[in-house]
């Protein structure tokens, strides 16, 4: 039953008795799906253009884009599986998934301590898994399930504290990794969900305060490795001559310049002076793909990209309204918040509005874990849409 979407015969007309308007397989949000697909294709071209000329040992050429296509295929299959399953089914399993997430975050943290440095992922052969990425999905479902449990439209104090624990534990573990960028996504998720679930304004304010003080304490106590603080210092002092800050200042400044020189229409495909030559923007294909689009396609290209994100966000927001139950609404609200925040942070850091973090631009940036995570989240949203009439 679950996989009926895969083997469903084409509709043969209104008279088809086996066909029903409420069947999940007939209720995919194709607009969202098409936007999603367009973003992914743009992503592949961006990764290719930003990486092909770089690399000391000869240019990378198709190396990164090939890998990205493989990631997308794997992620698409995973997404289809998620779509085929009723998201309500997850409510029962989410405890196990959440526990698994926390365990793997602790494990990564311990490995990092043992190696005396920042380790964000498990390396299993050629694949590396970042628990902080997959955790976005499990924590999203766990929080959504928890907040929708009593069916109330308000968040009382006990539920607020419970949600704080649920979201706070992984957030703190990720801060300690240290990965301030990813932890900010979790904070955004908590704030978005609590807002939609009806938390009082003071609770939201409390979360904001807690998040700021945790980050502050982590920075001041030295638990967070210096390279995280250096990025913030670099952002605050763009003219510093301190060699420690130079790498980040250099990276940020070049990304900004690349975006700016695109002008209105851009330099054209593979014609960018910065993007398409030597490695002036380190790891541009993962950290600064927006600058690659900005330089090659200009304001128009950027507007199209942001517009596509806008359509996707609007569709998710709409599905939140249409959901058959609170769980679905909350899942959509969470995906909405995280997508919005990651898109904003990545683009804003490219434009020099915020400090540099390692947060990828959803669907555009190169990276296996990130791609898979966002496919899973969009799969969940589709699942909510598909079952809105049940």
């Amino acid at each position: 039953m679950a996989f009926s979407v895969l083997n469903r015969r084409p509709d043969s007309g209104l008279g088809n008795v086996r066909s029903s308007p409420g069947a999940p397989s007939r209720n995919i949000d194709w607009i969202l799906m098409l936007t999603h697909a367009t973003l992914v294709v743009i992503g592949c071209f961006t990764v290719y253009s930003a990486s092909r000329t770089k690399g000391v040992n000869g240019p990378y050429g198709y190396f990164f884009v090939t890998r990205q296509v493989v990631f997308i295929i794997v992620a698409a299959v995973a997404m289809m599986i998620v779509m085929a399953v009723d998201y309500g089914w997850l409510r029962e399993r989410v405890r196990f998934l959440y526990a698994l997430t926390i365990a793997s975050l602790i494990l990564v943290f311990l490995i990092a301590r043992a190696n005396n440095g920042a380790v964000l992922s498990f390396n299993i052969g050629p694949i590396n898994l970042q628990p902080a990425e997959f955790g976005k999905v499990t924590v999203l479902v766990a929080l959504a399930a928890f907040l929708s449990e009593d069916g109330s439209d308000n968040v009382n104090y006990e539920r607020f504290v419970g949600a704080l624990w649920l979201g706070g534990i992984p957030t703190v573990l990720i801060i300690l990794q240290p990965d301030l960028g990813s932890s900010s996504v979790y904070v955004a998720l908590m704030m978005g969900l609590l807002l939609v679930a009806g938390a009082k304004a003071k609770y939201i304010a409390m979360i904001t305060l807690l998040a700021l003080s945790t980050v502050g304490a982590a920075l001041l106590s030295g638990l967070v490795k210096s390279y995280q603080t250096v990025r913030i210092t670099a952002w605050l002092n763009p003219n510093s001559k301190d060699p420690k800050l130079q790498t980040y200042i250099f990276q940020g400044r070049n990304a900004l310049r690349a975006t700016a020189i695109g002008g209105l229409t851009g330099a054209g495909w593979l014609q960018g002076k910065i993007t398409n030559t030597k490695g002036d923007i380190p790891v541009q294909w993962a950290d600064f793909p927006f600058s690659a689009i900005g330089e090659q396609f200009g304001l128009i290209g950027c507007a199209v990209l942001i517009g596509l994100f806008g359509i996707a966000l609007f569709r998710i927001w709409r599905i939140a309204h249409l959901s058959r139950d609170l769980l679905g609404t909350y899942i959509c609200a969470g995906v909405f918040t995280m997508t919005l925040w990651q898109m904003f942070q990545n683009i804003a850091m490219t434009l020099g509005l915020t400090p540099i973090t390692g947060l990828p631009l959803p669907f555009i940036s190169y990276g296996g874990s990130g791609t898979l995570t966002y496919f899973l989240m969009f799969g969940l949203v589709q699942s909510v849409h598909m079952r809105r009439m049940r």
């Binding site: 690399g55 000391v56 040992n57 439209d153 978005g192 807002l195 939609v196 009806g198 060699p243 420690k244 130079q246 790498t247 900004l256 310049r257 975006t259 700016a260 020189i261 695109g262 002008g263 209105l264 002076k273 910065i274 030559t277 030597k278 490695g279 002036d280 380190p282 790891v283 900005g294 200009g298 304001l299 950027c302 507007a303 942001i306 994100f309 806008g310 966000l313 927001w317 939140a320 309204h321 609404t329 609200a333 909405f336 918040t337 919005l340 904003f344 683009i347 804003a348 434009l351 509005l353």
Partner: protein
């Protein structure tokens, strides 16, 4: 209702989204339309490469034009930092390079991480590579992106290890110096002078950086030169040192110290005093002992020493030797830590008997010494000038001096009686009978000067100390060298400081006592001075009261003095431009020196060399301290005056006696040799035994009786050696070493 509320909240979320997207939209629009052109221009001009041009460091010459320090062009391999920012790229490139430049990948990686190399400039990977290596790399530029060969300079010392303490050495900028050099525009990985003239003249020697700015294309190839500022080479410096004299001084010093250590002649060794019960007073390491006639003798440790030759009138330093010495080329070859520790061992401070053998110390200016009797002329000057003694009046020397203080105090353990040095014949304090000042200086009567110590103290506690400061004691001479010791004149203040610093024991009185002043009057006690200060004070005495600032720098020249005869610079007419000359004496202070004061002192000092001594009792002849040693010295050719000194060391043990001698020419008609020579040989015996022969040799060489060997350009540094400098002694030829032999000098002081 509930649904409406939720819709409102979702609306709030949408509002947040609109605000955030609006913010980036606005910024993006501003950036890509309004700012675009300006940034486009920045980027076009931004594809530039800046290359710093290192100036040639100023060279150092001796007074005869010999090139003491020069430079050699070297090629350095550097890598553009942008190319190796990623670990994987770095590893690949470093692995390829390591085989060609012969540097391990780990070393390159360590340099990449090392903060001392500027982040704005290409990273230097290997220094001093061959032309072939650079060609090999540049011909395969596609395999070595961002790798280039750059020209740089390396310091060379053609005559090393001669005068290493004076010339000094270069080293990387220390952590403590970073701010200072950064402010002066240095790069963080530059080498700078860290010792000697290299350090003190750094500001002149360094020169000014040049800079070329290139425009480069996307592959980092030079398109055109945008601007160029040529580097300004450092100033060339001529020293007052004459390397030929310097070499001779170093050789005489080392030869004498080795002779003191290795002798088996008991008359030249230290005697272990025997007690009445037949046992020996001191216990020392057995290897030192030498048994003969039932008395124990041992050679002196003679670990170290220094010689200074200074022109009396100008204050110019002709030679300045310090032993043990080192080869300053060690600092140009990149020593690792263990090799450095092997070459420059740290003296073990916990071993009280171990002599200080630290090498990287210029003892001539950093030595903190008692001066012994060489100090007496200045004490005499102070007493005459204060009107406390009449140089022609006689004083009865009974072998000791009893302080005129309350006898009860003496019984309570205060030291009241001070003795003369022991006479060699009797083993008891020498008794010289009635002495005028010049007699007291000639035979070095301590009692006479103990009395001055008392007289000056009773008049005013700090009178003697303050008078002595006129000769430059207790303050830096201002010579053009770093790390000079300022010296110590004892006072209540100083005693308090030393007690606080735990140099003096807790039991010591913090007051300045009469005993302290009496000790000061014979150059002992808390007095400390460097051999250079002593030489400069003698120069002041000899030139009639002009306290000059001693100079090592003769002149500063415009950079780029051409090479002349191999090993020499070309200073002939029109070839070298003098910027600043220091030939005129720089008088710090002129002190009052009437003939009534100076003549008796000079008469006494001349008698030290020539005799006669004094007869007491009756016809028993006491020779002067230098008379026996200088009996074969050609005093008619180059007449001298001088003074011996024996500085007592730890626990007054005989083998801790340090030997001092100051001699100066009194021939007014020979301006070229109007010099003061001071020799200080640590733990080497009486003044006449070790230091005086060294000074005698120096003057015999100046007077032409002994020939000084010519100076030759050094062999390349033997990097396998375990010594900081090879042995440098006089050739084993009696004509050369004869001046060192002194079989009679058994007189203390």
């Amino acid at each position: 209702m509930a649904v409406d509320k939720r819709a409102a909240r979702l609306g709030a979320l949408a509002l947040v989204a609109v605000i955030l997207v609006g913010a980036i939209g606005a910024r993006l629009w501003f950036l890509q339309t309004v700012q675009s052109t300006a940034i486009q221009e920045q980027v076009n001009n931004g594809s530039i490469r800046t290359q710093l041009l290192v100036p040639e460091r100023g060279r150092i010459f001796d007074s005869q034009g010999r090139t003491l320090a020069s430079n050699r062009r070297v090629l350095t391999i550097t890598v553009d930092r942008a190319v190796i920012r990623r670990l994987s790229n770095r590893t690949i490139l470093f692995t390829r390079l390591s085989g060609i430049v012969k540097v391990p990948v780990q070393t390159m990686e360590a340099r990449w991480k090392d903060g001392q190399y500027s982040q704005f400039l290409p990273l230097p990977i290997a220094e001093d590579v061959s032309e072939d290596t650079v060609l090999q790399i540049e011909s395969r530029s596609e395999d070595f992106p961002g790798v280039r060969g750059e020209e740089d300079w390396a310091r060379v010392y053609p005559y090393a290890p001669l005068a290493s303490h004076v010339i000094g050495y270069m080293g990387l900028i220390l952590k403590s110096q970073e701010a200072e050099f950064k402010a002066a525009g240095y790069l963080s990985n530059e080498t700078v002078g860290q010792f000697g003239v290299e350090k003190s003249m750094e500001a002149y020697l360094h020169g000014t950086m040049g800079k070329v700015v290139y425009q480069v294309d996307s592959a980092n190839r030079v398109v055109r030169e945008i601007s160029r500022v040529d580097p300004v080479p450092g100033k060339d410096i001529k020293l007052t040192i004459d390397l030929k004299v310097q070499q001779y001084a170093e050789r005489v010093l080392e030869t004498e110290l080795r002779a003191r250590r290795q002798t088996d002649d008991p008359t030249l060794m230290a005697k272990n005093p025997k007690l009445k019960d037949g046992t020996y007073k001191f216990v020392e390491p057995e290897t030192w002992f030498y048994d003969k006639d039932g008395t124990e003798y041992l050679p002196f440790p003679a670990p170290a020493g220094s010689v200074v030759m200074e022109n009396q009138d100008t204050g110019q330093i002709v030679a300045m030797a310090s032993y043990p010495t080192f080869d300053n080329r060690w600092f140009t070859v990149g020593l690792n830590k263990s090799k450095f520790q092997q070459l420059f061992p740290v003296p073990d401070k916990n071993d009280p008997n171990r002599a200080d053998k630290s090498i990287l110390v210029n003892r001539a200016i950093q030595g903190q010494y008692n001066l012994g009797s060489t100090f007496k002329p200045f004490v005499a000057y102070s007493a005459i000038q204060s009107g406390l003694i009449d140089p022609e009046a006689t004083f009865q020397d009974n072998g000791s001096f009893v302080l005129a203080i309350d006898k009860d105090k003496c019984n309570q353990g205060v030291r009241c009686e001070y003795f003369n040095a022991l006479a060699s014949g009797t083993g008891r304090p020498a008794v010289y009978g009635p002495l005028k000042l010049q007699d007291a200086l000639a035979v070095s009567s301590d009692a006479y000067f103990y009395r001055i110590g008392e007289l000056t103290y009773l008049k005013e506690h700090d009178l003697l100390g303050n008078e002595l400061r006129n000769f430059g004691f207790g303050s830096k001479s201002g010579i053009d060298l770093p790390f000079e010791f300022s010296g110590r004149i004892p006072s209540a203040e100083l005693k308090q400081q030393l007690i606080t610093a735990k140099v003096l024991g807790k039991g010591e009185s913090p007051n300045y006592l009469e005993g302290d002043n009496v000790q000061l009057a014979i150059g002992q006690g808390l007095l400390a001075a460097s051999p250079l200060q002593l030489a400069n004070a003698y120069a002041t005495l000899a030139n009639g009261g002009f306290l000059n600032r001693p100079h090592l720098i003769k002149a500063i020249y415009q950079g780029g003095v051409p090479d002349g005869y191999p090993g020499y610079g070309d200073f002939s007419e029109g070839k070298a431009t003098v910027l600043q000359s220091f030939d005129a004496p720089e008088t710090v202070k002129q002190i009052d020196m009437p003939g009534t004061t100076s003549l008796p002192i000079l008469a006494g000092l001349e008698r030290v060399i020539t005799g006669p001594g004094v007869y007491f009792p009756d016809s028993f002849y006491h020779t002067t301290t230098g008379q026996q040693l200088f009996h074969d010295y050609p005093n008619d050719t180059l007449p001298l005056a001088g003074k011996t000194g024996t500085a007592q060391g730890s626990q007054s043990k005989p083998w801790n006696d340090s030997s001092v001698f100051a001699g100066f020419s009194v021939a007014t008609d020979q301006p070229d040799t109007k010099v003061v020579v001071v020799a200080y040989l640590e733990k080497s015996g009486y003044g006449a035994q070790a230091a005086a022969p060294v000074v005698k040799c120096m003057f015999e060489a100046l007077g032409g009786k002994v020939t000084m060997a010519d100076v030759n350009i050094a062999d390349p540094l033997d990097q396998t050696s375990i010594y900081a400098a090879p042995s440098n002694v006089l050739p084993a030829d009696p004509a050369n070493t004869g001046c060192l032999i002194n079989p009679y000098a058994t007189i203390r002081d």
